[in-house]
Symmetry: D2
Subunit: 411 residues, 4 copies
Amino acid sequence: MKKTKIVNDPVHGFITVRSPLVYSLLEQPCVQRLRSIKQLGLTHLVYPGACHNRLQHALGATSLMERALDVLKSKGHTIDKDEFDGALAAILLHDLGHGPFSHTLELSIVDVHHETVSMLLIEQLNRQMNGALDAAIEIFSKRHRKQFLNELVSGQLDMDRLDYLRRDSFFSGVVEGMVGLERIINMLDVDDDRLVVEAKGLYSVENFLISRRLMYWQVYLHKTVLSAEHVMNMILRRARYLVGNGDKELFASPALAFFLNNRLNADEFAANPEALANFALLTDSDVECAASVWTQHRDRVLSLLCRMLLHRRLPRTELNAEPFEQWMVEDKKSLVRRKLKLTDEESDYFVCSRMVSNTGYSTAHNQILIKNRNGSLNDIYDASDMLRHSNFNEETHKYMLCYMKEQFFSD
Amino acid sequence: MKKTKIVNDPVHGFITVRSPLVYSLLEQPCVQRLRSIKQLGLTHLVYPGACHNRLQHALGATSLMERALDVLKSKGHTIDKDEFDGALAAILLHDLGHGPFSHTLELSIVDVHHETVSMLLIEQLNRQMNGALDAAIEIFSKRHRKQFLNELVSGQLDMDRLDYLRRDSFFSGVVEGMVGLERIINMLDVDDDRLVVEAKGLYSVENFLISRRLMYWQVYLHKTVLSAEHVMNMILRRARYLVGNGDKELFASPALAFFLNNRLNADEFAANPEALANFALLTDSDVECAASVWTQHRDRVLSLLCRMLLHRRLPRTELNAEPFEQWMVEDKKSLVRRKLKLTDEESDYFVCSRMVSNTGYSTAHNQILIKNRNGSLNDIYDASDMLRHSNFNEETHKYMLCYMKEQFFSD
Amino acid sequence: MKKTKIVNDPVHGFITVRSPLVYSLLEQPCVQRLRSIKQLGLTHLVYPGACHNRLQHALGATSLMERALDVLKSKGHTIDKDEFDGALAAILLHDLGHGPFSHTLELSIVDVHHETVSMLLIEQLNRQMNGALDAAIEIFSKRHRKQFLNELVSGQLDMDRLDYLRRDSFFSGVVEGMVGLERIINMLDVDDDRLVVEAKGLYSVENFLISRRLMYWQVYLHKTVLSAEHVMNMILRRARYLVGNGDKELFASPALAFFLNNRLNADEFAANPEALANFALLTDSDVECAASVWTQHRDRVLSLLCRMLLHRRLPRTELNAEPFEQWMVEDKKSLVRRKLKLTDEESDYFVCSRMVSNTGYSTAHNQILIKNRNGSLNDIYDASDMLRHSNFNEETHKYMLCYMKEQFFSD
Amino acid sequence: MKKTKIVNDPVHGFITVRSPLVYSLLEQPCVQRLRSIKQLGLTHLVYPGACHNRLQHALGATSLMERALDVLKSKGHTIDKDEFDGALAAILLHDLGHGPFSHTLELSIVDVHHETVSMLLIEQLNRQMNGALDAAIEIFSKRHRKQFLNELVSGQLDMDRLDYLRRDSFFSGVVEGMVGLERIINMLDVDDDRLVVEAKGLYSVENFLISRRLMYWQVYLHKTVLSAEHVMNMILRRARYLVGNGDKELFASPALAFFLNNRLNADEFAANPEALANFALLTDSDVECAASVWTQHRDRVLSLLCRMLLHRRLPRTELNAEPFEQWMVEDKKSLVRRKLKLTDEESDYFVCSRMVSNTGYSTAHNQILIKNRNGSLNDIYDASDMLRHSNFNEETHKYMLCYMKEQFFSD
């Protein structure tokens, strides 16, 4: 076995894997499965370059973690080998529980958040590896006594975010989303076991927050992406409906069929070993292949939804600061009902009105601490003259109405 | 309908689609299908970033075509609207006939080259579009009387190659594969209806040829990629064997099942409309989803091959200037037979010895003409002092031996 | 004469100069002079890559102008050839009046803002070119009746800023300063002769404003840059003092000597043709060469300052939200006086306390108008939920204290 | 004093200076002087972005050296602290002896190669630093017993070349010159104290050689650059002629004046401490400032040449595989003589016919050794099927004729 492995990453350049633990984790089937899960779900329908997968991101975040830990050590903070490897493993494995198309179908295949699934898979791995992931589990579950290790995996400035923002910017071509991750990592420090940022890094952190906001609205919550996500969710809902109504022959891989037949909540999922086993087999291809087959299905609702998605004949989406009025929604439904000769219930699949939130970057529960030259600490919302009086910190809501375009019916 | 569409491509920046013909082609299901076919097949197993798809490439090549045509027009060459649109459509559609994982499975699913399938699909489209693709077909089939249009689609310096080299370099992170496409495109000219390059562009064309060569050996024919491709081909061979031997229940999408049940040559394919219809439904996900299901199949050969691929436990590959001796091959086979308790026939799936050629960049049949200041023309092999005496122009052969690693058996 | 000229710009790629007017302007000595004036003055002392010059920037901004005008034309706005060329010429020439090291010595060589000098030089050119720059002058002086042309040259979203932010980010390596100029330019529109931005471009404009802010504090007003700028200004002040006190032999090029001997305000400058002639000869090299010679000068203040600058032994700089107290300033002065055995007056050159403002990005006088889908207009400070309640719009002041490091005396 | 210094380099990203020796060398005036010497002389007249300086390059090469030494150490080769620091210092200082505009004026200001001057300056520094540079001097003069250290500073694959090719490609915008330096550095190894490259790096090294060739002809020996370099050399020749003929008042900095008055060969230069002292003060600005003043000089030859250079009215240059015939040269001379009313001798300044060689990449004296899997070594000219039969290894000669354009006289 080679001592080190070098991976050529278009985002960070050559990544050298030095840790034997990381090396052996990369050989695990549940890690390799991340190759087949697109980082940004259906975003490539709008930004065609955004077809990168979760494995790249996991590897990239791991390499940033190594850099960050090296910076902290060079500033005099003790991080022993176990903690070092634990932090690397925790970030490498943090997304293990993502299902097909990442966030797109979250809660749609199983009623369980991906972090919960990640934890179940990491614990399973840990049993196979005789406790090699004990430290990683402490860190991943935010229970490590050196809080900064937890924060490097999941916090306002964690390596997850630094990697995904830079990577998503790179692959989508949204150049203005580029964050100054080298500078931020170099400015990291530890104070009383918490992660802090030297004051010199203030502008880079401001820029990071703004870039994240931009990426949210310009990419992650792009209205055409939302529209496609809606369609894919409706496809699964309809498939489950058909299965529930006796369609025994609906094409699906066994793993997908399991979840179409069983709608599990978190407790049921945790209690049923078959559920985790099936989940660990599911990738984008199970859903995509099924949707492709279903384009020929005799159920008009299902086949139409699948064709809309795969042929990119997506519904129109409007975003608004205020909720859409009910009559507008009804209007759209009645149009589709009339044009496509659908029942009331069926028309529900083709019109969607809901709230969209950028909860992802809200900082309510988690601070970024800025360390001044004199050693005192400030929350960034006090330290930054730009953010201080803004309402940047609040969650933003928009309202979305998604419905069929007129031209759709005329084609 | 909007007049223009702007697409954000990480490689070329903002691409503006101005041609209504291109716009309407982009809405065709058979074009959208290219989204689900990875440009570089299994290369992402070595270069994790290389997960880009054929649609991006088609779009990128189309945008380069527009630039090239604009350059030629600015140099005084007449290109009428039909020819302009025809060239754009021809390059957009040139890869329509690729099957799952692009070249990886070429001739493995059907015994037909992808260009042949492209032509069948373009002709089908043309019938639906009432002849709108007549010019594109002339160009794609190299029968247009303005030979340079044919050459821009398929020639030594076509827009296909310029795009894929730059794009594959970008996504794989192999920065030294970067070609100077802006310079080359600006140096294009036409002489007596043939595509030529101004002498000032000589070094860029040399560099382009060398970069292509580098990309071949470093990326396209990387030995680990060859190894993975071998495994995927063996998976399909075994699946077909099982189906041929009566496995009625082998999981597969209907489209994939069609080809597992029917091994068609070019004539049979062309004669059978069902074949084309099924092919047009096949994407990476059909194969990937099936392989994932087959990891659990009771046939040990099939399930083992699928696990090798999906868990990235790939065979070792050696490349050699000389063919491997038969006893070495037999040695490897007998080892795997003994270790895995296989029959002689079964061991065939796990050992492979064959020739690998970089035919892709051989220039035997197609020149690059350099136009000197005085208007005279030279083949680049005469014009370039570097290439003149080299054997660059020859096809290179290497020999590959692919077999199970010892450690594989001990795990 | 060639019809078009292609310039290879590392920032924007190949720039094609198509306008004969631009082509002939590029051949003017006063335009070529911009090659010898660094865009960012002394910033390369902190960011070594930032050694780009004003000519590159002028050319880059001109190419963005061409793109912007093309976008506006494609949206149905009439821009005739004169206006088109006028806008190109205006942006190409807008920085003609910069003196050595750009902003570093602004008001230090002559008491005239660079825009005023630009106008004098453009008018001089216009006379030589028989009025070819009439439209450019109207636009440059903000008197063109199509206000959006004026705004494209000088406004909140002018091509000057778009180019310099991207360029300065590129050369300094401050990647997070990268603005999404392709998106912004594509979102430009005209309403009632004013420049507006489509609502879809809102996030990119927000990002542009934040990036500009970041570039200000991280690069343009970096404290070590401020420190070097202070030293260079003191060098000129001392040289002028020596000349004023009878040093007839102080080394200087004739052009520099003219300004050391004559301190002109705007009126005097405009009235004296010799002044403009001399100014048009001055470049970075006049100042740099003199400073190099002066490192050997017998006046200790001058030679010390010159060595500090050229050997990069820069004073320490502190930035503060509040003004520094007078006793601190006096303290620093008394230290340098004692250590270097200077008079009170002489110590003034080595300590500096002043206010620093980022007036550059304050938007008090000039709006960015966002055009909603329904055609209504909003100021970006109303349109952006992020900026609305922030005090982003206000000019920020910091206070700077610049003084000799202790270690300086011990070397 | 800070322990480490981080420099933001647009080419390599954040560079961390960890070695105290490197840190203190960066503070030396003779190192800081490199800031004011453009890496590529007058190349920015063709590639406007190419205005980077020698200090950046020195720093970049030093950071690559650190990476290379780390790679070699990780492969088990012993490099002690003295050797490590010595190699860093040697590469940092290797270009110390460059004069104004780097190669442009080499042998024109003094008759001494820049390496010789570098050595004199390094030895001077070493005396000031009490022998801290002993190891660096051994390495720089190729006398270190660990030959690979010498080769890393000056050899076919030295850190100098890796940095300058990547950097010159970056700043000029000639993207196809990009070399895969990360891969090459990772493939470095040591065999019997010589630097070798693992066979896996073969294609990257081939690409490196081709990119270098491309950069030579496309950038370094671009004919317009040659033309400008000719003019600058003629300016110095004329200035020296005027000084030699009694022009006591020709404007020049004292350091430049010294060399106009004294034409020294290597022995004279080494014997005269004043010569080295003056040389160490000379930068681009001495020459540029003088040329600017001389545009107004009463000697028509001098002022014309200076205006040609500074206003970029450059002579036309032709490159040819064969020498130009004498009558063609005479023809051009007689034209300029007639048009400008010059003497025979004076016309010599305006016409130039000479040989141009790309000696830079000839590998006659220095191999690149490829280390095969079995440990055997091959010269790359045997290992590479592409280079084996090419005449790549030979020095290429072209012939250049440089003369005034017709339009020049008509302006």
